[in-house]
Structure formats: structure tokens, C-alpha cells
């Protein structure tokens, strides 16, 4: 069964039919061809599928596509600003805050959400914000460092 839905996706309006039983993860990957949102566990544990729903991070595998109705969705593909890397993305590159990269989109989404809510987080607050994003490669050290550096560069920008 399909249902008509209307929502904002990465800044653009989308009006389409979605299967009523499809998760947001599969809808984004399959119907919208946005494969940056990853399937790691499909049960809300790993965070690889994290997206922004009205600027708050959610596990898209725990959400039905039809629940996007009337909301604003941002995926990793919508994080760049004016064709340039977002400061969080830039710091992930510069600090070597990724290895296999499979958790990276979800991790960056969580970090962007954190910095929008809390522009100067402590290390503990950074760790707390990404506690739902599992990474098996990095030990999180460089990820925490990159998010801290992004916060600094954003605050310089504002000042």
C-alpha cells in the first residue's frame, strides 16, 4: 500500500508516494537514491542511519517514510553548505576522524545536531551526543577531537 507524502528533503520540497511499511532508511536509499544513510543493524542500535528530523537526530530505521509528512528531513547529502564542506565534515577530514567511514554519515549528523543546540560543548557532552553512534574502527578519539575543533571553528565564524 502506498500513501502520498509531502515533506522537505535537504532543503527541497518532495511530494511522492511511499510504501506505508517502508522505513525511512530504505525509502531514502531506494526511492530517493540517497545512499549516504547506511544500514548497519536496522534496529536502532548502531546509529549509521541517523538523519535530522526537524534538526534533531533520529535513527531513520526506526521511522516509517510516511512519518516524514509535513516535516523537514536532512541527510548526510544535505549537510554541505553552498557546495563546501560543513565545518564538521572538514574537521573529520583534517583530523583523520574516520577509517572505514561506514558510521561517518550518522556520526556527522549527530555532531551537527549537537553543535546547533550547544555551540561550545565539553568533551563529555560530545561523547554523550555520539554515544548512540557505534564506531568499530577509531576508538572515537579523533572523532571527539574533530567535533571539538568544528565547534571552535564555528564559534570563530560567529564571532
Amino acid at each position: 500500500m502506498k500513501k502520498a507524502i509531502k515533506f522537505m528533503l535537504n532543503g527541497d520540497p518532495v511530494e511522492t508516494l511511499a510504501d506505508t511499511n517502508v522505513t525511512m532508511t530504505d525509502f531514502l536509499r531506494r526511492d530517493m537514491h540517497l545512499t549516504g544513510t547506511k544500514r548497519g543493524c536496522e534496529e536502532g542500535e548502531c546509529g549509521a542511519c541517523t538523519i535530522l528530523l526537524d534538526r534533531r537526530p533520529v535513527a531513520s530505521c526506526l521511522m516509517l517514510a510516511t512519518e516524514a509528512e509535513g516535516h523537514e528531513i536532512v541527510t548526510i547529502e544535505g549537510i554541505m553548505e553552498d557546495g563546501k564542506l560543513h565545518p564538521v565534515q572538514r574537521q573529520f577530514v583534517e583530523k583523520w576522524a574516520l577509517q572505514c567511514g561506514f558510521c561517518t554519515p550518522g556520526m556527522i549528523i549527530s555532531a551537527v545536531a549537537l553543535l546547533e543546540e550547544n555551540p561550545s560543548p565539553t568533551e563529555a557532552e560530545i561523547r554523550d551526543a555520539i554515544a548512540g553512534n557505534l564506531c568499530r574502527c577509531t576508538g572515537y578519539a579523533k572523532i571527539v577531537e574533530a567535533i571539538g575543533a568544528a565547534a571552535e571553528s564555528l564559534s570563530r565564524k560567529v564571532a
Partner: protein
């Protein structure tokens, strides 16, 4: 004597850049990963992101029983599901074409692509269903009716070795898939003469790799050949097994490794999820994809061998290690595959990083009806160094010698030859011991009272830098080969067979080429891991990629560079080695007449040679004995890395809650090619080691059902659980390593567990013999100590189990 690989390439070394001129190698922030931008933008394509026109989906039907005979399979209802297009059983694959390692031990080629008659573990593949959508395939999969005759299963490795145990594969073998012996010196004499001897028991658990990307593959069949994208750690090895499993020539199969979401050893073997979509693609004329769900990854892929240890050591009273006897029982699970190296590695790892000349060691690998064990990062080393280094700590206490001093006293020194023929080369193990001890303030450990809840622990280890032997294709060389092409439009292309599974080897190869040619990183293009486009490489395992692949790449670019500079040497009347390549220029220092751009240099060569492009070929192979797994003697690797680690923990003595406060890791990896990359490997190793020590364990009921196949129930450390980590890079450039480097990926996992365990021992005053040491274990241990005074935790029945083992003649 045959020429060594080093002699073969000696000629090109003269044009290698000198270490003092390196602009990229050894630096931390001189460049970034070549795949970083693709990964932070979500553009990097992984196997599940492959979406081809007309693509269908494959799902696997799995056994609910740990051991059973398949009586019948009924597809009637499954085939009625709209969109279900086809089904497969074991009979669709040629009989006898099993996955494993037939050329070394034919019995270990024991995994059918799909089970034909017997299932040997919960999750074993029984059938496959293809549907036009993932949902149709899944619905069809659920409706396949399989009738089983349930057989008795054996879950415990010791029970599996009993004479009357049900057999997993072969009758009258006590279920032992491999029995390995290593003997050296005169252990009996050494034990007789020793001032101090003892015997201890330890046990490690079943753990999984848990790469965040699940396994999967996508296949297309066109013009009589397959193209298969797979989550593999070795495109060539996977190609070998897919061709073998399908019964077709290797030339009819192309395997491409897209971006990989982690491997850790779990993606080395060949699996049904690769063979089934390939078969469907041929039968049905559509591309077909098969991506495993998380529980399938737990049930149907690979795990780390649980090992039970009996360790006896002999020391002089002043702490010199004279001899070691040990017995290792490795739970092999249901199949062989990449498990082939487990026994030999477990024994080899017990012979270093501490010198021991007299050894008597055996390893048995019984089959059980559980998921198959295989390679996992720090293969056998993590378990062995946990047991053997916790043991060192206990010996130190008994002898009244500081444990770091005991380690230093027995530490491997440069160019030592081990009792099984390991030829150590560069070694700065002592430096790692000293600097890690300094950094954790080891000298002041005594000021912390034992059992106070605060503890500091220490451990040392070593690892092969570039395993010289293939795990899954023998007797082929475990070589690596690379091509480099210089382009007159101002760039170079490197065709690298090395498999980047996330560790960053694509970046290493690009850096080496850029460094040698004086180009920027973005002026070097990489073509990677594709059996049609790139030359042979044995895969990403055994910490071989930087060492073997890196050397191979440097020789390839050296070969091209020598051709280019020989030409310009003739033009300019100088020697090739007098010419410098830097900042996109080719020049003789101090001579403005002899200074041209890289583009002009390449063009000049081509003009003179009728347009022939400049290309270089390089390879690296360990000059070792290919029968090492049969003889169990010889040198395993071209170099060895060494590390020490130290942990500071706090334990809540009421609840058993553990906090790892700080971790120090000192690693001798020769010259680190990129310090941030090496730190990243080490920080990741600390996560795996903490998970291994305090969190992770696959649990089973008595019938072999996995009780926690999800990230909810199988927990590993999050960002909140990880400590601050201090990395100390030690050692000197290794003369045989690429630009002086040794491994940093796997050896770094080995000393983490024992350091944490030793810290927990100090903090609690208990002695831990079994992993994981989780809060419940500690809480129970504290309670037991209060009630009975007993401090040994996790020893239950282990000594008795060893004593009761039936006498089986060694083989393999």
C-alpha cells in the same frame, strides 16, 4: 640459493628518495586520507549502495538447529509469493567444491556453498530465494519448508574431544580439525633445573568482529562472465573461491571490492551470500544482490576463536624465563576456512615477545556446532597475549620481582632467532616497555593499595609485520604486486591490488607514489582492488598490507622512476640517482640548465621511445617456506612489531562497575608513515581490546542457539566508555619496511586485554582467569572473596577439563 626478493629489486633502490628528503612520509598532518571527502559527504559507495538496473534480491534460508540432517525442502509456498523468481539448494553447486583450504589440509575444505545434507550450526545455509524486491525474497525465504532430523549437537570444545562425542564432520577424529605441536630446545631439562615452576589456566570467550557494515555482495552475469562486488578483504582470494564454488574458471569471474565498512578478519572467508547471488545472476539473467541482516552476520559469518590455556613456565630465581609448556584448546566452531592459521599462530605468539629457548607446546582445534571461528584482528595473538601476559604478572608476583622489570629481563632483542625459527630483525621492545611504564607512572603503582578499587596494569606483546603466508589460498604466495604509470599530463596512476577495508592503505599507496615522484597527493590517482584492473594481492590480513603492499608499491614507482631518470641521466650526462624529483619538477640540484617540469620529463621519455608510456611494476613476497602450517617451523614474517601498554582503571567495589580511566600505548612500528593514521589504528585497537576484556561475548544455550545476536544484547564500547589514550611511537626505521615502516594494525590489539585485566586484578585483589571480566564477574568475585576468601575467578573446572582430555595423536 635462489635470489631473494630484495636482491631482485636492488637496482631500483638507488633512485629511492632519501629519508632526510621525505616531505610526506612520517608526518602527521602533511596530507589527509584520499577517501575522506567521499566518506564525509556520503558519496562513498559501499556494496549495499550498488544499485543496478533490473536488480533482484537474494535471501538465505538458515538452519534453526545446531546439528541436523536435511530430510526435505519444499519450495511450493515460497514460489507462490508474487515476485519470487527462483530458489537454490546445495545441489545447484558442484559437489566437492567446498570452501576452505584444500591445498594445505584437504579436510579443512569443509564448507559447502549451501549445505547439501547436514547442517552444522544454527544459521547454516540451507537454501536461497531470489525475489524482484528485498521484501518478496524475504517473504519467500520465510515460506520455505525444511524438514530436519535433529542430530545431537556438541557445543563445548572439551566435550567435543571426548571419544563418544557426536562428530561435527569426521568420525573417529575426536572432532579435532587441527593438532599442532611445536617443540624446541630441551624443556624437560630446563624444568628440572629451574628454581621456580608453576602451572596456570585461562580461558577466553567467543567474540565477533562487528564491523558496522554487514556482509554482502552484488553480482551480474554478462557475456559469459560474472562481475561481483563484495564486502571482501581480498578481491583475488574471493575471486578464487567464487570461481571454485561455481565450478568455473577464474578468468570468468571479476571481483571488485567497493568501499568497505570494516573487516577485522571477518570478511576474509568466502560465503554463501557471495555464491548465491552469483548463481542467481547466471540463472535468471538479472543482477542480484544479497546483504546480510545483523543477526545473520552474528550467526553465519566468522568469530574469534575462544581459547582455553594451560600454561607452565620455568624461571630462575632472578626471573629468567627458561622454558614454557602449554596446551591451547581452540574452539573452531563448525568449519575450517580462515581458521587454518589459528593453531600455529597461537603457538608462535606464545614464543614472543619474551625469549624462551625451551618449549613444548600443543594446540588442538576441535570442531563444535557453533558459528565457525576464523581470523580476527590480532589473530590468536589477543587471546594468547591475554593469557600469557596475565601469567607473567602472576609469576612476577610469586618471584617478588617488579613485572615490568621481569618483562625487560626477558624481552626479545634485535636479530634474535626464536625456538621455532622466527627471525626477528629490528626490535625496540625495551623502549616501549620503558616509555609506557614512565607514562603511566609505573614506579608509583606501589603507592596504590591493592584491592582499593584503583589499579594500574601493564602488558607487552609482539606481532608479525607482514604475515608471509596466505590464509585461504595455498600454496600460492602471499605476495603483493603493484603497477604505476606516469602520465605526461602531470599525474601518475597507481594500480594497487591491496584491499583498503577502512585502515587506509589506499592513502598509503598514493602517498608513497607522490613522495617518490615529487607530486601532490591529488596528482596520484588510485585504481584499487579489482581483479580485472589491478594486479594480484593476497588480501588484507596478518598486518601485511603496509609492509608487503607498501614495499610492492614503492618498487613499482621505483621501477618507473628509474626508467624516467635513466633517460634524463643519459640526456644530461649524469647518473639517475643525481636527479631529484620534487614539487612537480625533475632537476639536478644547483644546475638551472637541468630543471624541467614533471610533464616535460615524461613527454621527453615518450618522445624518445616512440610514445611508450612510463610504467613500473613492483612486488613484494616474504621469502619463507610455504609449508609452514605443516612443518610448524620457520620464519613467519619479514619483520615484527612490538608494543607495551598500560591501563589505569577504577572499579566500584560495591557494584563491580568498571571505568577505564586512561590508556598508554607504546608501539614500535618502525617509521610511522603517518602518525595520525597510526594513532587511529592504536585508538581503535584499544576499543577492540576493551570490548574483548570487559564487554563482549557470544552466548549460547545448551542446544547451540545464539542468545545475543544483536548490538542491543552484544554490547561493545561507545564513546562514553572509552578512556583518554596516549600513543607513544617508538622504534627506528626498519631497513626492510616501506620507507622504514612496520605494522601498526594488528599487533596493537594484542597487549590491550592483559593490561586492562592486570589493572583489574590490582584494583580488586582478585585473579581473573576468564574473559570477559564484566561488572557482574567482578561483583560475584568480590562476593565470593568475602564469603570464602577465594580470589580466583573464572577457573571453574578448567584444570579438570585439561586433565581429562583424551590422548590423541598429534597431526597437522
Amino acid at each position: 640459493m635462489a635470489m631473494s626478493s630484495k636482491e631482485y629489486y636492488a637496482e631500483i633502490e638507488k633512485v629511492y628518495k632519501k629519508p632526510e628528503d621525505y616531505e610526506l612520509a612520517g608526518k602527521g598532518n602533511a596530507y589527509v586520507r584520499v577517501d575522506a571527502e567521499a566518506k564525509v559527504t556520503g558519496r562513498a559507495k559501499y556494496t549495499d549502495d550498488i544499485d543496478l538496473p533490473g536488480m533482484w534480491y537474494c535471501k538465505l534460508v538458515r538452519s534453526p538447529h545446531a546439528h541436523a540432517r536435511i530430510k526435505s525442502i519444499d519450495f511450493t509456498e515460497a514460489l507462490k509469493v508474487p515476485g519470487v523468481k527462483g530458489v537454490l539448494t546445495g545441489k545447484d553447486f558442484p559437489e566437492g567444491h567446498n570452501m576452505g583450504n584444500p591445498e594445505a589440509f584437504k579436510e579443512l575444505a569443509d564448507k559447502e556453498p549451501i549445505c547439501r545434507e547436514i547442517v552444522r550450526m544454527v544459521g547454516d545455509e540451507v537454501a536461497a530465494v531470489c525475489g524482484v524486491t528485498e521484501e518478496a525474497a524475504e517473504e519467500g525465504m520465510r515460506l520455505v519448508k525444511v524438514e530436519y532430523e535433529v542430530l545431537p549437537a556438541v557445543i563445548d570444545p572439551f566435550e567435543a574431544m571426548n571419544n563418544d562425542a557426536p562428530y561435527v564432520h569426521y568420525k573417529n577424529t575426536n572432532n579435532i580439525s587441527m593438532f599442532t605441536t611445536m617443540i624446541g630446545g630441551d624443556p624437560d631439562k630446563a624444568f628440572a633445573e629451574a628454581d621456580y615452576t608453576d602451572k596456570h589456566y585461562y580461558m577466553t570467550q567467543q567474540m565477533v568482529h562487528a564491523a558496522i557494515e554487514p556482509h554482502g555482495a552484488a553480482a551480474i552475469y554478462e557475456n559469459g562472465e560474472w562481475t561481483i562486488w563484495s564486502t571482501t578483504q581480498g578481491a583475488y582470494v574471493t575471486r578464487f573461491w567464487i570461481a571454485w564454488g561455481l565450478g568455473v574458471p577464474e578468468s570468468a569471474v571479476r571481483v571488485i571490492k567497493p568501499h568497505m565498512g570494516g573487516g577485522f578478519g571477518g570478511k576474509l572467508d568466502a560465503f554463501a551470500h557471495e555464491l548465491c547471488p552469483a548463481k542467481f545472476a547466471q540463472q535468471l539473467g538479472h543482477p542480484v544482490k544479497c546483504i546480510l541482516k545483523r543477526d545473520e552476520v552474528f550467526l553465519g559469518t566468522r568469530t574469534r576463536h575462544p581459547i582455553a590455556f594451560e600454561i607452565e613456565t620455568a624461571f630462575t630465581k632472578d626471573g629468567k624465563l627458561l622454558a614454557k609448556r602449554c596446551r591451547h584448546i581452540l574452539d573452531g566452531g563448525a568449519y575450517g576456512g580462515s581458521g587454518i592459521a589459528a593453531n600455529a599462530l597461537s603457538l608462535i605468539c606464545a614464543t614472543f615477545p619474551y625469549k624462551v629457548d625451551n618449549i613444548d607446546m600443543t594446540a588442538r582445534r576441535p570442531y563444535t556446532n557453533k558459528p565457525a571461528s576464523g581470523a580476527m584482528r590480532g589473530y590468536s595473538a589477543c587471546q594468547v597475549h591475554f593469557a600469557h601476559d596475565v601469567h607473567i604478572e602472576e609469576v612476577a608476583e610469586s618471584l617478588g620481582i617488579d613485572s615490568v622489570e621481569l618483562r625487560r629481563k626477558n624481552a626479545i632483542t634485535p636479530y634474535y632467532t626464536g625456538p621455532t625459527g622466527l627471525q626477528f630483525t629490528t626490535c625496540d621492545f625495551d623502549e616501549t616497555l620503558v616509555r609506557a611504564a614512565e607514562a603511566i607512572d609505573w614506579a608509583k603503582r606501589g603507592e596504590i593499595p591493592r584491592g582499593s578499587g584503583t589499579g594500574v596494569g601493564f602488558a607487552g606483546s609482539g606481532f608479525m609485520s607482514g604475515t608471509g603466508f596466505p590464509v585461504l589460498v595455498t600454496p600460492r604466495y602471499s605476495s603483493s604486486s603493484t603497477l604505476v604509470r606516469l602520465n605526461r599530463e602531470g599525474y601518475a596512476t597507481v594500480f594497487s591490488g591491496a584491499n583498503d577495508i577502512g585502515q587506509g592503505c589506499d592513502t598509503v599507496m598514493v602517498m608513497i607514489v607522490a613522495e617518490e615522484l615529487g607530486l601532490r597527493m591529488d596528482e596520484v590517482k588510485i585504481v584499487n582492488s579489482d581483479t580485472t584492473l589491478t594486479p594480484w594481492d593476497a588480501g588484507s590480513f596478518g598486518s601485511r598490507v603496509t609492509f608487503l603492499g607498501g614495499n610492492s608499491c614503492r618498487r613499482a614507482v621505483g621501477d618507473a622512476k628509474l626508467k624516467l631518470l635513466t633517460h634524463w641521466g643519459e640526456e644530461w650526462g649524469c647518473k639517475p640517482e643525481d636527479i631529484t624529483m620534487k614539487d612537480h619538477r625533475v632537476f639536478v640540484k644547483g644546475d638551472p640548465e637541468k630543471n624541467i617540469s614533471y610533464n616535460e620529463a615524461c613527454f621527453g621519455y615518450e618522445e624518445k621511445n616512440f610514445g611508450r608510456c612510463i610504467s613500473g611494476v613492483g612486488s613484494f613476497a616474504h621469502d619463507g617456506d610455504k609449508d609452514i602450517y605443516v612443518k610448524n617451523r620457520g620464519n613467519y614474517a619479514p619483520a615484527y612489531s612490538f608494543s607495551s601498554s598500560a591501563a589505569r582503571v577504577e572499579v566500584d567495589m560495591e557494584t563491580g562497575q568498571i571505568e577505564l580511566k586512561h590508556f598508554v600505548f607504546a608501539h614500535d612500528c618502525g617509521r610511522p608513515l603517518n602518525t595520525r593514521a597510526v594513532e587511529g589504528q592504536i585508538e581503535g585497537s584499544v576499543l577492540l581490546g576493551l570490548g574483548f576484556t570487559c564487554y563482549e561475548e557470544c552466548k549460547y544455550d545448551k542446544d547451540g542457539h545464539h542468545l545475543n545476536p544483536s548490538f542491543r544484547d552484544y554490547r561493545f564500547p561507545t564513546a562514553l566508555d572509552m578512556p583518554s589514550i596516549q600513543t607513544i611511537l617508538c622504534g627506528k626505521p626498519d631497513p626492510d619496511g616501506p620507507m622504514g615502516a612496520k605494522e601498526a594494525g594488528e599487533g596493537s590489539t594484542a597487549p590491550v586485554g592483559p593490561a586492562i585485566a592486570n589493572a583489574l586484578t590490582y584494583a580488586t585483589g582478585l585473579k581473573f582467569h576468564r574473559l570477559p571480566v564484566d561488572p557482574e564477574t567482578i561483583w560475584r568475585g568480590i562476593r565470593q572473596k568475602k564469603l570464602t576468601g577465594a580470589i580466583d575467578v573464572g577457573l571453574e573446572g578448567l584444570e579438570e577439563k585439561f586433565a581429562k582430555m583424551p590422548d590423541v595423536k598429534p597431526f597437522h
